[in-house]
């Protein structure tokens, strides 16, 4: 049963075998396990996305918006004091400096252009921390499109500044009240909306999850991160490859973007950091690789957390952006093959890492990115190692959690 569909002509997938194959799979993971109600939407997207995003006109528009609107390239910063602390060379890829405050905007700029070319007029999105929601509301304002964002009601509570930003940008934020009322449930609601509105609506998905071709589309738009790391490192130290790239993973889009151009460069160690909440054995966790198995979620065959009856387990993390019980199929394949290492950081470890970065470098990271920083405590580096940590977002939205930590130091 594990054999994937091999109807199409065999060929090596792109990126030295790590890209998606012609059937929409990364190794044994991926595909499009969706009801017929969504099939025409996905077929429409599948039929046109490649031609559109590979066209000269699209690329020009995309590159120009990333430069002048998003503010790319994002800096690659040598963190001197943090490097001294860890006895290695730490470079921070500053996605937190992007317009809207995270890497999410790379993808929303790309997808809004795609939606426009497809003639869609209504945009729907899911959001966890609100970063993708804000990035979507932003590009919708820019392109004069109607925007509806689904967000778990628990996440609305804990990320209120982002909710207000979305509303100010003209988006309608609809609370998802099912399940744990977090990212998974917001994604369910977005899919239901799309079933009910198949013709005018484009689902602007925020991570490398969902049915094919979404994981591929999102990874491609985010790959600007690793593309820049290459030439920025070359400028600074005369080499294009680091020894390590570290990124946090919920669904996995910032990690996919940071790893992308290094997938077939086996000398580069790729490290993804999951959120283990109160700990991998606590039952209050979002560490999919550590606690999960193979299954199907949101249209994709991938790793996910489930109970013995195949019901999806509600995840937990302090970080709303990592609070998801699955992970993109791109990552499941890297995990299964061992190409990337998947480790985890708890709420506690992430908070400590956030305060360390703040006090050594004057950079307040998002709680999500703090999980990537926590990996620096866990790995052993040589003094000459070049370690790139992707700072996927800034911490403004997490000030409540940080203030709480300052008021109640543990």
């Amino acid at each position: 049963m594990n054999e994937r569909n091999n109807n199409a002509e065999p060929h090596t997938p792109p990126l030295g075998g790590w890209g998606v194959d012609s059937n929409g799979y990364y190794g044994e993971f991926g595909g499009a396990f969706i009801p017929e109600m969504l099939q025409p939407n996905i077929d429409e997207l599948k039929a046109c996305y490649k031609e559109i995003i590979d066209s000269y006109e699209f690329k020009q528009e995309f590159i120009s918006l990333l430069k002048d609107y998003v503010g790319r390239p994002s800096a690659l910063y040598y963190a001197k004091r943090l490097s001294e602390h860890y006895g290695t060379k730490v470079y921070l890829k500053r996605e937190d400096l992007n317009h809207t405050g995270s890497h999410k905007v790379n993808n929303t700029v790309g997808q809004i252009l795609l939606a426009k070319k497809m003639g869609k007029t209504r945009i729907i999105a899911e959001t966890g921390a609100g970063q993708h929601g804000v990035a979507t509301a932003t590009v919708c304002a820019l392109m004069n499109m109607k925007c509806i964002v689904y967000m778990g009601s628990v996440d609305i509570e804990r990320q209120m500044p982002n909710v207000r930003r979305m509303e100010m940008l003209g988006a309608k934020v609809i609370p998802a009240e099912s399940g744990n009322k977090t990212l998974k449930d917001a994604t369910n609601e977005a899919l239901r909306d799309w079933i009910n509105n198949p013709e005018d609506t484009y689902y602007l998905i925020g991570s490398v999850v969902g049915p094919h071709p979404y994981p591929e589309i999102v990874a491609k738009f985010q790959s600007v991160i690793s593309e820049e790391i290459g030439w920025q490192l070359d400028e600074k130290i005369g080499r294009t490859s680091p020894d390590y790239i570290i990124a946090c993973v919920g669904g996995g889009s910032n990690a996919a973007g940071a790893f992308y151009h290094y997938l077939d460069d086996e000398k580069v160690k790729l490290v993804a950091v999951e959120a283990s909440g109160m700990g991998v054995d606590s039952g209050e966790t979002a560490a999919t690789m550590a606690c999960g198995g193979v299954g199907f979620i949101h249209g994709s065959k991938t790793m996910l957390m489930q109970n013995d009856d195949g019901q999806i387990i509600e995840p937990y993390s302090i970080s709303a952006g990592l609070d998801y019980p699955g992970i993109g199929p791109f990552h499941s394949n890297l995990f299964k093959t061992g190409r990337a290492q998947y480790i985890d950081a708890t709420d506690r470890e992430a908070l400590d890492a956030a305060f360390l970065l703040t006090r050594t470098e004057g950079i307040i990271p998002a709680l999500e990115s703090a999980h990537a920083l926590a990996a620096l405590e866990k790995l052993k580096f040589n003094p000459d190692d070049v370690v790139v940590v992707n700072i996927s977002g800034r911490g403004d939205k997490d000030m409540d959690a940080y203030i709480n930590e300052m008021n109640n130091p543990s």
Partner: protein, 257 residues
């Protein structure tokens, strides 16, 4: 020929199929409801296997699924319940569900245990046709299970024909682009065009119309264009009301037929 195929062979019009969520309202109501549906004259029963994340379902079935899971329902429990009543019921029983719990249970074991529990067919909407043909079709045949496929107003003629080719039960015509139990208003001319389009394809399998069929009027309209109609959310709402369960099942069926 399984019970479903026999029923479809014997009765060509006004087929009434009732959907409900296994283990709802109470864990052990599954058998009671099936027996009562048969006694009150429903033609086919479709039993929903509850899932934590039912993306194709509207609020009514979401709520019943959650309640059923809280009651302790799962595939293993359901198949035991069905096996226990299989010699007492004649009405064809179909199972409908999402793929993840089945995958976790083991696909081949699931099919074998379905046959053993007297199940006639399966509706597994999130398995794409290509995957069905490659990994599932032979197992359906081996275990004498009929396949039922969903089509929608957006499904092309080409795809409808491909589904019809693989189908061994009936074609499940989703009445409009929506999740289950939706109350959104439908352009009835557009809907009729879709029904007529499917009719003109002269499919080899019978058709039944489902989603948003909720009462006598909508059921009769479905039967004008197809071999029958499928009612889900409206039935679940009825059995959620206070009162005697058997009585409510009878009242509901007699309000339709």
């Amino acid at each position: 020929m399984n019970k479903l195929q026999k029923k479809l062979n014997d009765k060509k019009e006004n087929l009434l199929t009732i959907y409900f969520t296994a283990g709802y309202p109470e864990l052990n109501d599954t058998g009671t409801i099936i027996k009562e549906l048969e006694a009150s004259g429903a033609d086919i029963v479709e039993v929903g296997m509850p899932f934590s994340d039912p993306v194709a379902d509207g609020p009514t079935i979401q709520a019943s699924s959650l309640q059923a899971l809280n009651n302790g329902m799962g595939i293993k429990v359901l198949l035991e319940q069905l096996k226990a009543i299989k010699n007492e019921v004649n009405i064809p029983v179909l199972l409908m569900g999402y793929i993840n719990p089945i995958w976790k249970y083991g696909v081949e074991k699931f099919m074998a245990d379905c046959e053993d529990a007297g199940v006639s067919g399966l509706i597994l909407p999130d398995i794409p046709l290509d995957e069905f043909k490659q990994d599932y079709q032979k197992l359906y045949e081996k275990h004498n299970l009929s396949s039922v496929f969903l089509i929608t107003p957006q499904t092309t003629n080409e795809r409808i024909k491909a589904y019809d080719e693989a189908c061994t039960g009936f074609m499940y015509m989703v009445s409009s682009a929506s999740t289950t139990g939706s109350s959104k208003t439908v352009d009835s001319q557009k809907q009729q065009d879709y029904y007529m389009r499917v009719k003109s394809l002269n499919l080899k399998n019978p058709t039944q119309i489902g989603f948003n069929i909720k009462d006598k009027t909508s059921f009769e309209r479905a039967c004008q264009f197809a071999n029958g109609g499928i009612i889900g959310s409206a039935f679940i709402k009825k059995i959620s009301e206070k009162g005697d369960l058997k009585m409510k099942v009878r009242e509901f069926v007699s309000s339709i037929k």
